[in-house]
């Protein structure tokens, strides 16, 4: 069953095109990653899905209903965490959580207490005294304490420390286990890799890649820098190795994870002096996309 579906969704602000013919499909029970750099259109897309912005063209449906016309009805089944959580400085965190849960519909009191403890949030404090991370926690507790069918999360882990990031990921995985759907916008690839079943990448308002993690295998390429005693020549002819650069004795390249073992075995024969490896950054991905290397265009 399809939970979110957009068809050629377009949003213009005056002359600026924020979303250009965006097609998305999120199925029930999956965690869907929506990744892209700042200003790519992630937040705009989410606001259209929430019926806060009106689409200029195309269609956006949630639970099969028009996102703009049936906003209130749809929202009874949605929990939302915005990217930048601005709260009322004179209300306490506890009050805001209760308000948010109540305005959506039903909530779970025990679940709320459990989450407050898990996220280690002092709910008696006024929101004006909260740090960015604590404001984020308020929104997260309110979202996960609701009994929603779909969670729409806009860069929810920005400002969380690693420990809290862990708690957040647990919440997402738990929701998936219960058959809930999650639409997760992010620019942290590692988080997306860990949580998401399927992914779309958006850049300048256009979806440039879409598919399951397996389909986007090249997303998980690793960048390697290696210094060896003996010269290495086999890389050019090896399948799954890209972007080779040499600088004296140091070679840098990107490699698909499937062939990493083989490559390392052969590299060690050349007597490794120094080795650095690094997961690919989102930037790598876009850069490659620009150049048209390794699929995409």
């Amino acid at each position: 069953m399809t939970v979110i579906k957009t068809t050629n969704l377009t949003k213009r602000f005056g002359r600026l095109t924020a979303l250009d013919q965006v097609n998305l499909e999120v199925k029930q029970g999956e965690v869907y990653g929506f990744i892209g750099p700042n200003g790519a259109g992630k937040t705009t897309a989410i606001r259209v899905l929430l019926g806060i912005l009106k689409a200029t063209g195309g269609q956006a449906t949630v639970f099969g209903k028009d996102a703009w016309k049936h906003a209130v009805e749809i929202h009874r089944r949605i929990a939302f965490v915005p990217g930048e959580v601005n709260l009322w400085s004179n209300l306490t965190g506890g009050e805001v959580i209760d308000l948010f849960v109540k305005l959506r519909g039903a909530g779970n009191k025990n679940r709320r207490e459990e989450l407050v403890k898990k996220f280690d949030l002092d709910t008696a404090k006024k929101c004006g005294t909260y740090s960015k991370g604590n404001r984020q926690k308020v929104a997260l507790v309110a979202a996960f304490a609701s009994d929603a069918d779909l969670y729409i999360l806009d860069e929810p882990s920005a400002g969380l420390d690693p420990l809290m990031e862990q708690v957040f990921q647990e919440c997402v995985l738990e929701a998936r286990k219960e058959g809930k759907s999650v639409f997760l916008s992010s620019h942290i690839l590692s988080e997306v890799e860990k949580l998401c079943d399927r992914i779309s990448i958006i850049r300048q308002g256009r979806i440039i890649e879409s598919g399951s993690l397996d389909e986007l295998r090249h997303l998980t390429r690793i960048r390697v820098r290696v210094e060896t005693r003996k010269p290495v020549t086999f890389l050019k002819d090896t399948k799954g190795v890209y972007d080779i650069g040499e600088k004296g004795q140091t070679i840098s390249f990107q490699v698909d994870t499937e062939v990493l073992g083989d490559v390392m075995k052969r590299l060690s024969e050349a007597e490794i002096v120094k080795l650095e490896s690094q997961p690919p950054t989102l930037e790598d991905l876009f850069m490659r996309h620009y150049r048209g290397v390794g699929g995409g265009q």
Binding site: L50, L53, V72, F80, N86, G94, K102, L103, G128
Partner: protein
């Protein structure tokens, strides 16, 4: 040791001045101008000695004493005595407000936002922030004192001599410095800026209240309030410097105590632990209307109190108004000439128009809050949940309309109760009430314009303030400046029947209500159709 604790005080004070290079001059110059312009306006209001004697008779009543302090030199009520009686305490309150706001901003406000942490990591002493703030506030109040004294003196009015002007200015400056010190102290006690501001304003309010009760009933009680001290300088009449020294001494003592406490505590800590707030929300908060009310509760209460005081200050002089107004040509020009009504009754529509247009300020604040919330990205929290746009705008609209009623009610009650306390034959509550409530349909139109702007032209909501300013200009000054009638007709307030002199006209009320309704419907329609920014 002292130098160590206050290292770089001069540079930091200069930094404060740099940050406040507009804020501070605007405050000081506005306050000085207020004093000077008011002093000048009395020469128009009561040009002759006879006028002023009449005025003295008007203000010699307990309501005025409670509000402005006891009148000294009522038997020779020259301009100096008038200023000391009617303006000194009022201006001192404003100076205190300036000092409180600026001091909170530079002490606890900066500390809470984490800016002081950055400053303190530099070679800056532990007490530098507070001592520099004290230095700046001393300087600001000194400049205010001197400019006020000079500004008053050069007017060359009867009774306003150099000695009195110097004491007048000095008393204001000392009061300002005292409240800066009090705020500096509360900034050590409370660990957040809201609390600091709350305690400081509570102290100011209490000082005003204690003095008011003391001045009317028990003189000794007034000596417990710093605001009781300032009125006892008997400026321009007896020119006592004792109270001034008392205020200055208290200010220094408060600052010394604040500095001592500051040297004891950790950065970010306070001596009064912050009262933990509610861990869960009260059921009253849990709806769009509940939230809208909660966010604006303070505004509503504050404005209602202000409207009551405004009403009371007009009401307190109603007593001897007839004889007084009789003598004033300028007022007679703007009154509606009507047979069979006392001058006081004819004066009421003008007072009510002023109060209704003042009430329009909170009325507009309530509805324009929708836009303010949107600009701060807080509307999306509600709109992303099962809340319709109609229910959001409707909540604020309801508050706006109710606020109009509450404000007029407060003004009416203020005027009636003060009038009843001072008049021999008080006006009936129903007379005053009708004269005030006749303006409600005009306030509905203002709410409607607010809803229209929020829905249709959210970027131009400030236009509504211009429109209110225009209304004030044409309705209040229109008759005086003999502006053409159509100019006043462009404002809803220009259409309202002027009770009790004119008859209530239900056709006019209906038309105004209908206009308000149309504006509101268009506003709601557009709000439901447009993009929300956040």
């Amino acid at each position: 040791m002292f130098q160590q604790l206050n290292h770089n005080m001069g540079s930091y004070a200069r930094f404060i001045l740099r940050r406040d290079r507009f804020r501070l001059p605007v405050w000081v110059i506005s306050l000085v101008l207020l004093t000077v312009v008011t002093a000048m306006s009395y020469t128009l209001l009561a040009p002759t000695e006879q006028d002023r004697a009449m005025m003295a008779a008007t203000v010699a009543n307990p309501a005025v004493t409670a509000m402005f302090g006891p009148g000294w030199g009522l038997d020779n009520y020259h301009f100096g005595a008038i200023m000391g009686h009617q303006m000194l305490l009022f201006t001192a309150l404003l100076v205190a407000v300036m000092s409180i706001l600026l001091t909170v901003r530079h002490t606890r406000g900066d500390e809470e936002s984490g800016r002081i942490e950055m400053i303190r990591s530099l070679p800056v002493g532990r007490l530098t922030i507070l001592s520099s703030t004290a230095l700046v506030m001393f300087g600001a109040n000194l400049v205010l004192a001197l400019l006020t004294a000079f500004g008053l003196f050069v007017l060359g009015l009867e009774g306003i001599d150099w000695h009195g002007s110097l004491l007048y200015g000095a008393s204001l400056g000392a009061t300002g410095f005292l409240f800066a010190a009090v705020t500096g102290l509360f900034a050590q006690l409370s660990d957040n800026s809201r609390g600091t501001m709350g305690y400081s304003f509570a102290f100011l309010g209490l000082a005003y209240l204690v003095r008011g009760i003391g001045d009317v009933g028990n003189e000794t009680l007034s000596w417990f309030s710093p605001l009781g001290w300032i009125v006892r300088t008997q400026v321009y009449v007896n020119n006592y410097w004792g109270p001034f020294l008392l205020i200055t001494g208290a200010a220094i003592a408060f600052f010394a105590l604040a500095l001592y406490l500051n040297s004891l505590r950790d950065l970010g800590a306070g001596f009064i632990p912050a009262k933990p707030g509610r861990k869960t929300a009260s059921p009253l908060l849990l709806s769009p209307l509940g939230l809208a009310f909660r966010l604006q509760r303070g505004t509503i209460i504050g404005w209602a109190v202000a409207m009551f005081l405004l009403g009371a200050s007009y009401g307190s002089v109603l007593g001897d108004l007839d004889s007084y107004l009789e003598s004033m040509e300028i007022i007679r020009d703007v009154l509606i000439v009507a047979e069979g009504f006392s001058l006081t009754e004819q004066f009421i529509p003008m007072l009510m128009a002023v109060m209704a247009m003042s009430a329009a300020i909170p009325v507009l604040l309530m509805i324009l809050k929708v836009r303010a919330e949107e600009s701060r990205n807080r509307m999306e929290h509600l709109l992303a949940r099962a809340v319709s746009r109609t229910s959001i705008l409707g909540s604020y609209m309801l508050l706006s309309v109710l606020a109009g009623f509450v404000m007029m009610l407060a003004a009416i009650l203020g005027m009636w109760s003060a009038g009843a306390a001072t008049m021999e034959a008080p006006l009936a509550l129903s007379t005053i009430s009708n004269a005030g409530m006749t303006y409600l349909p005009a306030l509905w139109v203002m709410s409607g314009i607010g809803a229209l702007m929020v829905g249709l032209l959210p970027r131009a909501v400030s236009f509504t303030w211009f429109y209110l300013g225009y209304s004030f200009f044409v309705v209040y000054l229109g008759a005086l400046l003999q502006l053409p009638v159509w100019m006043a007709r462009l404002s809803p307030f220009g259409h309202v029947p002027k009770l009790p002199v004119e008859e209530a006209n239900f056709a006019v009320y209906t038309i105004l209500a209908f206009i308000a309704l149309v504006l509101t419907v268009i506003g709601f329609g557009s709000y439901n159709r447009r993009d929300i920014a956040g």
